[in-house]
Amino acid sequence: AQTVTQSQPEMSVQEAETVTLSCTYDTSENNYYLFWYKQPPSRQMILVIRQEAYKQQNATENRFSVNFQKAAKSFSLKISDSQLGDTAMYFCAFMTRGGSQGNLIFGKGTKLSVKP
């Protein structure tokens, strides 16, 4: 069974600084997708970034980038130039490619606070 582990329950960062959130996963699959979702206090789940396991290049979306280490089964999220609006829960999620149900497996989340 696939599992996703986020070892940092809470983190804080000063506005404009950089922060990295950690995620590790366990799977015997070779083809899969990894995601970071943001959940602000409004509860809305928002996709931040997505990485296909077959791509060696790390995904980037504006201030958000990932460090994907397939052999180590590690998928960390780097947020540059942190903004107050980045304050939220961040969930790492895994999905098998080619699965019949598109089931996202989520970690327990990291609560990020951006301080002014």
């Binding site: 928002i46 999905m95 970690g107």
Partner: protein, 113 residues
Amino acid sequence: NAGVTQTPKFRILKIGQSMTLQCAQDMNHNYMYWYRQDPGMGLKLIYYSVGAGITDKGEVPNGYNVSRSTTEDFPLRLELAAPSQTSVYFCASSAGLATYEQYFGPGTRLTVT
């Protein structure tokens, strides 16, 4: 587009009562999902549907039922509510599997006392 909408936003149920959580999407997505999020945890899949008339169980289906009579709607039915079903419920939809983003509704906070 409204995206994915859920009603109600909040609900308190007594043990043994039943209710239906409503979910609708206006993006013409074939795939729809129900997740639950317990305190301090990530989301877990309850049921999913790959199209009208087709549903299947996810990781935690016990105590729930679903139906999918139209592409737009995917209601979740709770029968004989139990305190263990106290959670936040999210509905999501996607155009396809894996490569397509899942769009989430705002969630329904359910308390069973």
